[in-house]
């Protein structure tokens, strides 16, 4: 990722493009956009070195609203396109914006491969648990039995847990946040931006038209404290209005449990073994009953981009002469013969 330029003095406004924002009034995407625009100046990267690439979906309109470089590509393919860009342009800060359908349905393969490769991409998945743009079909994160236009008798397939999937795909950075919590959202963006390699960020996003209040339990002031778990590096994992609930690791168990009181586990996103983050990811499913947000996993592994770059640099060091001379040399490497 491009190194910060110290004298830059950008503000959120600098990241607003001249395009009229066209989501439904009340859509959670607005809050995310504002949070991202607000966070961008912190990056300390000139606008021209930032690229947003998206697929198709309501969320994927995002790049049009950012005054950076941007591509609104095709459904599901943003991670693949961004991989080509990032691998060939390590000087850029490349962000992928995608939806639950875009990333996990049609784009599932590119997503898991980008994570496995640890391409230096910041992937923001706007999870509204529904297809917004196509007007309300269920998505791979919709709860089992969900009744939608395409499933009037209820959907027949269990959802993915996006974080478990990412961890199963060897992701090095995995986090979750919420559209409406700007401060938290920005803190997660900060951690993602600081991470070298793929950063996978699930953002719970309200689609007030087709799946309103899907995340109300963890947003509404009256219930949120009892269901939302804020992960803080090095801190015990506690929640509840009075901090009365603890996430504990029962002896002999592989998973986690929530209980009143007791010794809360100390959160450490940097442990190498993904089994911990995986266990954390299982704390919540479609029911949201005990939903951690924050950075689940944050470890280092060589990035695809940097290995490829190193190979290029090493190989280039071998080349001698002008490019044309090198080319002549290459053409002549085989057995040749000369006719006079």
């Amino acid at each position: 990722m491009a190194s910060p330029t110290v004298e830059l003095k950008l503000t959120a406004k600098d990241f607003k493009s001249d395009q009229e924002v066209r989501w439904c009034p009340g859509c959670g995407d607005y809050a995310i956009l504002a949070a991202v625009q607000g966070f961008m100046p912190e990056l300390g990267i000139p606008r021209e070195n930032i690229v947003f690439i998206s697929g198709i979906g309501c969320s994927s309109r995002f790049p049009y609203y950012m005054n950076t470089y941007g591509m609104h590509s095709i459904h599901g393919r943003a991670p693949a396109i961004a991989t080509g860009l990032s691998a060939s342009r390590p000087d850029l800060s490349v962000w992928v914006v995608t939806g639950d359908g875009d990333a996990l349905s049609i784009g599932g393969n590119h997503l898991i491969h980008a994570l496995r490769r640890n391409v230096n991409l910041k992937i923001l998945l706007f999870n509204n648990r529904i297809y917004g743009l196509t007007k309300g079909q269920y998505s791979p994160t919709s709860e089992l039995g969900k009744i939608t236009k395409s499933t009037p008798a209820g959907s027949a397939d269990s959802p993915f847990n996006p974080l478990s999937l990412a961890l199963g795909a060897e992701a090095t950075f995995v986090a979750r946040t919420i559209d409406s919590d700007r401060k938290h959202l920005q803190s997660v963006l900060r951690a993602a931006a600081d991470h070298k390699g793929s950063a996978f960020v699930e953002i719970y996003q309200n689609c007030n038209i087709f799946n309103d209040n899907a995340f109300e339990m963890i947003k509404d002031a009256s219930s949120r404290d009892d269901h939302l778990i804020r992960l803080e590096q090095g801190q015990p994992i506690k929640f509840g209005a009075e901090g009365q609930f603890s996430v504990v690791h029962p002896e002999g168990a592989f998973g986690l449990r929530v209980q009143e009181g007791g010794d809360a586990l100390i959160h450490d996103a940097t442990v190498d073994d993904p089994a911990y983050a995986f266990a954390l990811s299982r704390l919540s499913g479609s029911d949201l009953n005990t939903t951690p947000i924050g950075v689940f996993r944050n470890v280092q592994r060589p990035t695809y981009d940097e290995i490829l770059q190193k190979q290029l640099v090493d190989a280039k060091a071998e080349g001698t002469g002008t490019p044309d001379e090198m080319l002549d040399g290459l053409l002549n490497t085989a057995d040749t013969w000369t006719i006079l």
């Binding site: 021209e48 930032i50 005054n67 470089y69 095709i74 991989t83 080509g84 060939s88 850029l92 490019p323």
Partner: protein, 617 residues
């Protein structure tokens, strides 16, 4: 090795086919004979024939691998229709190839393998060596394996290694028969087995034994010579189409001063381009083996967006998958080279066989009006130039270009007069650097008046931040637009900008300018069509030949060319795809002549078809 005292006859050309089991090293043997012939200065053309994709059990028909080399003292266009000599390492090789041989052809058989068991494996009831079924040929039974093992006695190699060297015995024999210079082969063996001196010695000894066997045995009474061909002066190498194509892409990168980014997913017969390019990172080339074809073209497009020469290489099934992303590239108006090394379809079809049946898909295989440029190489070495031309069009006009190679040119080889890098076209391009609109605005879809290309403003350029995408774009600004008139304008503009690409006129080869029939081809049929035309003309039958490199847009003079002939015939390895285009566009009653067997046309097939047309109209 001495030249010996046998009778020497002059030939102007010879076609030799080596055939054996996948493990018998036939490709290598053929390669060596090709190389020796190249050293001698013959013109050459080769055709490998790999077994279907999985290694079949030894000695079975599906396991047969062969390599045909044609060398001559004049310039030739094809690897030859029918072998003058077949080297058959086992009964399967004989059975699989016998039907291609003309009467009187030489057959050299490895008798050691003509056991009852092996004969049974391929359904020979009787031994063809004994039952008279080969009477029409000049059969030379040679105990290749045991003589090789015998010759290596005392060299301390294992029996298995000794047996393996039998292909060098065969090569030695053939090299003797056709008076080939063998120094390069000996050097090659030293290089190849550098880490195993025992094998160097063994293989050299086997080669020598084969040579000596030719010299000594009564069975081979005549030795042949094929004089060097008159070829344009210069330095040559032998090259396959896939190699040449990869090198052409390297050259395009060098000559455009752009880093090359290849996104590819392995697929027969295109994988070798990926393999070749992966070796040349020192040119700043990045190769990515993507998770699938869609990711491959997506990554190449992403790299192109970032300013690279984006390339993706595949075969038909891969192009079918890439269609949606290519359509995006068309909407984005970014340069992109898509290489399709065609193989026999539909579906998985026959992956190791050739065909030209992806032309329709290249031209029309996307939703909406999604025009792009299409070009095709005509021979193995031409793949080099075609790749450069594809890059030129992509970069100059900011468009995806489909390069339609096929298995025949991709794996065939021929001598290639090496170009000088400095004399290759200059492909340098300018990225946009400054705003092009009023009040400092950047208009990503404001076009160059000549090329109609939009500016290539790559991320990292201050002041040109902009957004593009697959939704319809307003003229100039590139903003999303649903305006009907704008869409109509943009659709017609995209079509016009492809139609407006400047491509060279098609040339007509009609030496006596008296032909009434024109044969029009494209891509890899150039060799056989050319050979057939020559043969006809030698027999006093006039015929004109035109060959298309550019399929979209078509050369500006094509209509005129077609009108000038009474009859137009279009041979293709498909069911008439180019013919369809020509008929629609020029309303010319072009006659398709189609072969779709997975094999290239033979010159003979075309000659007799064309003779009929020339004579009977």
């Amino acid at each position: 090795m001495s030249a010996g005292a046998k009778r020497v006859e002059q030939l102007d050309r010879v076609v030799i086919r080596f055939a054996g089991d996948s493990g018998d090293g036939m490709q290598l043997t053929g390669d060596r004979l090709t190389s020796e012939s190249a050293q001698l200065g013959n013109d050459i053309s080769t055709l490998p024939n790999f077994p279907a994709e999985i290694r079949a059990p030894a000695g079975t028909l599906p396991g047969v691998s062969s390599f045909q080399v044609h060398f001559a003292d004049y310039d030739i266009l094809t690897p030859g229709d029918a072998p003058n000599v077949l080297v058959a390492m086992n009964p399967a090789a004989l059975k699989a190839n016998i039907s291609d041989l003309p009467q009187g052809a030489d057959i050299i058989l490895n008798t050691d393998e003509f056991t009852k068991r092996n004969l049974g494996k391929v359904g020979y009831a009787a031994n063809p060596l004994d039952d008279g079924s080969l009477d029409a040929y000049a059969v030379h039974p040679v105990a290749l394996t045991s003589m090789t093992v015998g010759a290596l006695d005392g060299l301390g190699v294992s029996k298995k290694d000794a047996e393996r060297a039998k292909n060098m015995f065969a090569l030695g024999l053939l090299s003797w028969m056709y008076s080939r210079p063998f120094e390069s082969t000996l050097r090659f063996l030293e290089r190849k087995f550098a880490k195993r001196p025992d094998l160097v010695a063994a293989n050299k000894a086997a080669f020598q034994a084969g040579w000596n066997f030719g010299e000594t045995t009564e069975d081979f009474s005549v030795r042949y010579e094929v004089k060097p061909a008159k070829m344009r002066p210069g330095t040559y190498r032998n090259v396959t189409g896939n190699q040449a194509l990869a090198l052409g892409l390297v050259a395009a990168s060098v000559r455009s001063k752009l880093p090359l980014f290849l996104g590819a997913y392995p697929i027969t017969p295109a994988s070798d381009i990926l393999h070749e390019l992966s070796k040349h990172k020192r040119f700043g080339i990045t190769t990515m083996q993507a998770e699938d074809e869609i990711a491959a073209v997506g990554a190449a497009l992403g790299a192109a967006y970032g300013g690279a020469l984006g390339v993706t290489t595949t075969s038909g099934p891969g192009v079918a998958l890439k269609g949606e992303t290519i359509s995006l590239a068309i909407a984005l108006e970014l340069p992109l080279v898509i290489v399709d090394v065609q193989r026999a379809g539909p579906s998985t079809g026959m992956p190791t066989k050739t065909e030209q049946a992806d032309l329709n898909m290249a031209l029309y295989g996307r939703h909406g009006e999604a025009p792009l440029a299409v070009i095709a190489p005509k021979s193995p070495s031409d793949c080099f130039h075609a790749a450069i031309e594809a890059a030129r069009i992509a970069l100059t006009y900011r468009t995806p270009v489909i390069l339609l190679s096929d298995n025949y040119v991709a794996n065939g080889s021929e001598p290639w007069l090496l170009p000088e890098a400095g004399e290759l076209p200059d492909l340098s391009v300018e990225y946009a650097r400054t705003p092009n609109g009023e009040d400092g605005r950047f208009l990503p879809y404001l076009r160059d008046p000549k090329t109609m290309a939009r500016p290539w403003a790559i991320p990292g350029t201050p002041g040109l931040e902009h957004r593009i995408g697959g939704l319809e774009k307003a003229d100039k600004t590139g903003d999303i637009s649903y305006d009907p008139a704008n869409h109509e304008f943009m659709v017609r503009t995209r079509a016009a900008r492809i139609e407006g690409i400047e491509v060279p006129d098609v040339e007509v080869d009609d030496p006596d300018e008296n032909a009434r029939v024109l044969v029009l081809g494209w891509g890899s049929t150039y060799g056989p069509i050319g050979a057939a035309c020559r043969a006809l003309r030698q027999r006093g039958l006039p015929i004109a030949q035109a060959h298309l490199r550019h399929l979209s847009p078509l050369p500006a003079n094509l209509g005129e060319v077609l009108q000038a002939y009474e009859k137009v015939v279009i041979p293709e390895m498909n069911l008439g795809q180019l013919a369809h285009v020509i008929r629609a566009k020029y309303l010319v009653d072009a006659v398709p002549f189609n072969q779709i067997s997975g094999l290239p046309f033979t010159a003979a097939t075309l000659e007799s078809m064309l003779e009929d047309v020339v004579k009977n109209g």
